[in-house]
Subunit: 191 residues, 2 copies
DNA sequence: GAAATATATTGAGACTGCCTCAACTTGTCT
DNA sequence: AGACAAGTTGAGGCAGTCTCAATATATTTC
């Protein structure tokens, strides 16, 4: 019944915990194989559980994604904070953007989920996306303050570009996503 | 039975022609309202026709899109050719890219369809996409030859970027797509 | 250790969508 | 008017989403 959230309330029944874990593992496989709109029915089936059980643990696809990726997303945000100290402001921004693209390219369709989630406050993925956006915000602010970034670039711009490049990666090849990210980042440099 | 292709073979029966037109009109509305994965079932329903009729005219979604957009795509390619003469090579490229983004942003999901179609030779949309790509190719070649474009930018890069920006437009707002395209194009300039 | 109780699981069922194809209808041509 | 090609129909098979009453199981209590 309760999602990741570091489980503060009450602890789950043993069978529930087991099914929860199996579902998560099954979802990870399915998303990797089929992208974020893999069949939930199949995820349940492959977890050896009835579909109702899946829905009782994860009311929707976003909840499943949050449980699967929430930690990773918070880690990405943390990486952003760390980079604030090191290296040149623009290089830090660029390095983080690369990491963010790699993250958003994990499953086919993930970039689109992230774009939806940032707009939709009721999405279970919203909070995690906001954390990522906030990290981007600081990197952008610093690079701009240092005069290394175009004046008119904002964090939402960066967020959208990162997801767009992940999307390109899904459509053509990961290498192509990387390639275009390089061009794009160059375009963001102050000159 | 026969798609757009300027109808060279034999002319259709009157009722077939009527249904074909109705289906196309219905599809245009549905795609505009719901994006390119609107329900085909509903398109048929709203055209006042059984779903089998839809499938007999258009074996799949791509065929419907080709019938709906083929002419427009060829026009876009032609615009590219015209631009080859006028204005600075880079400006021509940029202007064309803007037009291409606007075109790919016509329906939600269209950018993705174009990315798929260019890779998939068996897609009914493939030829039209190739025409667009070819137009981009010439603009890229000219801008590069004039030393106004980064050496390493290719037509497929441009194609992907255009569709990616249309995608951003769908996810956030058309204005955001435009905005990021500007940044991106700047990144493609030789310096 | 057996009830009592709270917590989970189940799977049928009501939807919607995709696509096919055998039976039927209708336009067109002579 | 009749014949035949061309077109249309819609039921039916399949898969997916999501819900909820019935059922089963863990845990707690005595």
């Amino acid at each position: 019944m309760n999602t990741g959230e570091s489980t503060p309330p009450r602890r789950m029944r043993a069978d529930a915990r087991r099914n929860y874990d199996r579902l998560l593992a099954s979802a990870a496989t399915a998303f990797a194989e089929r992208g974020t709109d893999a069949s939930l029915e199949e995820i349940a089936r492959r977890a050896g559980v009835a579909n109702g059980t899946l829905y009782s643990h994860f009311p929707n696809r976003q909840a499943l994604l949050e449980a699967l990726l929430g930690d990773r997303m918070r880690a990405l945000a943390a990486t952003g904070e760390e980079l604030l100290g090191r290296s040149s402001p623009f290089e830090a921004l660029a390095a983080w953007a690369e990491a963010a693209v790699a993250h958003a390219a994990r499953y086919r369709g993930l970039g689109a989920s992230f774009m939806r989630a940032i707009e939709d406050e009721s999405s279970d993925l919203h909070a995690a996306c906001e954390a990522v956006l906030a990290a981007g915000e600081r990197l952008v602010a610093r690079a701009r303050a240092a005069g290394e970034l175009r004046e008119d670039v904002t964090a939402p711009d960066l967020y959208a570009l990162v997801n767009a490049m992940a999307w390109v990666g899904e459509q053509s090849s990961p290498a192509q996503g990387e390639r275009l990210l390089t061009f794009t980042l160059d375009g963001l440099r102050a000159r």
